[in-house]
């Protein structure tokens, strides 16, 4: 299943947030969206999953999601959004409970996703007992349990410290290499974008327009081995964004 954004415009009141956004997310690729703070990248992600509606333009699903897919467009949030009163297992089963799946099947799915995210030993832990990285792993497990067609990630690593971020980035690369999931990944971190993105959409400051779409052909698994190239790509992105970021930083926030 592909997603396509057609001529998205969005206003909050009189303020234009996004202007003329067009791009596609093809099955099996990770599209990163980067841009200075306040450029509407998270808003764009909410349009993609149907949590908000753009003022004009449309988001199209092209093709239908696979049969086994319980929730085609599934989010992973920056603040994890785990229910603090449910255990790891309970948080994952939350996403399955409304689908009338037999108990044993739910058990099997939970076992499976816990294994894939290396969480098997933490099955009955409460969120408050887990570190930030573990919490985000649980959120990833919860997202995987519904067999998403597209993962929508809203700065998933931004609330984590840099060591944990590095570890989870490796995990995401491994996961993609094994499962070839489709994702739209919003971040303000250029290093994450060049490590994880097949396509990087660079937005300008408000009103957010597409500045450039950068494609990176190096396979995800090999990128860590060519640090020089990674650095060059990151520099290229930074040059695109530098002035925008500077200007965005000077703006007054009153929207």
């Amino acid at each position: 299943m592909d997603l396509s954004l057609n001529n998205i415009h969005h206003f909050y009141g009189d303020v234009e947030i996004l202007s003329g956004i067009n791009f596609e997310i093809k099955s099996g690729e990770i599209v990163c969206i980067i841009g200075p703070s306040g450029c509407g990248k998270s808003t764009l992600l909410r349009f993609l999953g149907g949590l908000e509606r753009p003022s004009s333009g449309e988001v199209l699903q092209i093709g239908s999601p696979p049969e086994a897919c319980l929730n085609p467009l599934t989010y992973i949030f920056q603040d994890f959004a785990l229910l603090p009163w449910r255990t790891v297992e309970g948080n994952i089963s939350l996403a399955l409970e409304d689908h009338r799946i037999p108990k044993q099947e739910i058990e099997r799915i939970i076992d499976n996703v816990l294994g894939r995210t290396k969480l098997t030993d933490f099955r009955s832990a409460l969120p408050r007992q887990l570190s930030g990285g573990m919490k985000q792993r649980v959120a990833i497990a919860r997202a995987l349990c519904v067999n998403p067609a597209v993962l929508l990630m809203d700065e998933p690593l931004s609330a984590l410290d840099s060591q944990t971020r590095e570890l989870l980035m490796d995990d995401l690369v491994d996961l993609w290499t094994r499962e070839r999931f489709t994702a739209c990944y919003v971040t303000h971190n250029l290093a994450e974008a060049v490590r994880l993105g097949h396509k990087i959409v660079v937005l300008s400051r408000r009103p957010g327009k597409i500045r450039e779409i950068v494609s990176i052909d190096t396979p995800l698994a090999d990128r860590k081995n060519d640090l020089v190239k990674l650095e060059q790509q990151q520099n290229h992105l930074w040059n695109l964004m530098r002035e925008e970021a500077l200007a965005a930083d000077m703006e007054l926030n009153d929207v």
């Binding site: 949590l51 603040d79 959004a81 229910l83 449910r86 408050r128 519904v146």
Partner: protein, 276 residues
């Protein structure tokens, strides 16, 4: 680099060295075990000493011995149980029905714009009315018997519960609700599995307020036309100037309050064990 390190080391040996003053203390409440029983025992001892030395006149306050005797008499006559059970029954019925109604209306106000527009101004208008002032009306509406007493408690409990509930729901983390929507959960699942548990801590602390209101209104309601009940017992003792019985009755009320707060504490510990 290494030069500057040796430099500072030689400096400290010649100059006065003293520990950095600690300024981070205070503002942290710890537990002081055994002090609270001592306060109680100390107060009673003072009271005992005052009564036996004549410092406190028996008309002003009966001695602890007399009050204890009055309590023992009450217990031996079998009336204690009758009074307490009558009161507890009213309390339980009034508080439970007031709470159930309050939580339902509170949830409705919090979740539906229609219900909010309908009920919120009503609640705001009736909330500040002292329910005791309505007691004569309740006697006419619900009869002089149990009805009016339970109704007084119910109304008294209902309003703070409504306010606590809808405030609590308004404060539930929006990002959790958005998460529920993003996984395609049904409306009822979001309410039962995300909103209600998220609001529970604030609802439970509302219980503390509503329970103490319930006890106050219980005594007030029992002062009108009740045969049994701690309030009736205290009122009778007061009108006979039997201050020893009055103190015994007040002690029973205080014990009732302590029991209720203990039970709510237990409920909090059970339902909110996911918190630190």
């Amino acid at each position: 680099m290494s030069d500057s390190i040796t430099h500072t080391q030689t400096n400290t040996s010649t100059r006065l060295a003293r520990p950095v003053p600690f300024r981070g203390g205070g503002f942290r409440i710890g537990t002081v075990p055994w002090l609270s029983p001592f306060v109680f025992v100390g107060l009673i001892l003072f009271w005992y000493w005052g009564s036996s030395s004549g410092f406190i006149h028996p008309l002003v306050l009966p001695s602890p011995g007399e009050s204890l005797q009055a309590f023992i008499n009450l217990a031996q006559s079998g009336m204690l149980w009758k009074h307490v059970s009558a009161s507890v029954q009213r309390l339980v019925i009034g508080w439970t029905s007031g709470t159930i109604l309050g939580i339902s209306i509170g949830l409705a106000i919090a979740l539906s714009s229609l219900a909010r527009a309908t009920f919120a101004p009503l609640v705001a208008a009736i909330m500040p009315v002292p329910k005791i002032a309505l007691l004569p009306l309740f006697v006419i509406w619900f009869g002089i018997g149990e009805g009016s007493k339970v109704a007084t408690i119910l109304f008294g409990v209902f309003f703070p519960t409504v306010i606590a509930t809808y405030g609590a729901v308004d404060n539930v983390d929006r990002s959790l609700i958005r998460m529920g929507q993003s996984f395609g959960l049904s409306w009822s699942s979001i309410v039962r599995k995300i909103i209600f548990p998220g609001a529970l801590p604030a609802i439970l602390s509302g219980f503390r307020i509503s329970a103490s209101i319930a006890i106050i209104l219980l005594v007030a309601a029992e002062m009108i036309g009740a045969e049994f009940g701690i309030g009736a017992y205290v009122l009778l003792a007061g009108s006979l100037m039997a201050t020893d019985q009055l103190i015994a009755g007040v002690a029973v009320l205080s014990l009732l309050g302590l029991t209720v707060s203990f039970l709510i504490g237990r409920a909090e510990r059970y339902f909110l064990r996911w918190r630190t």
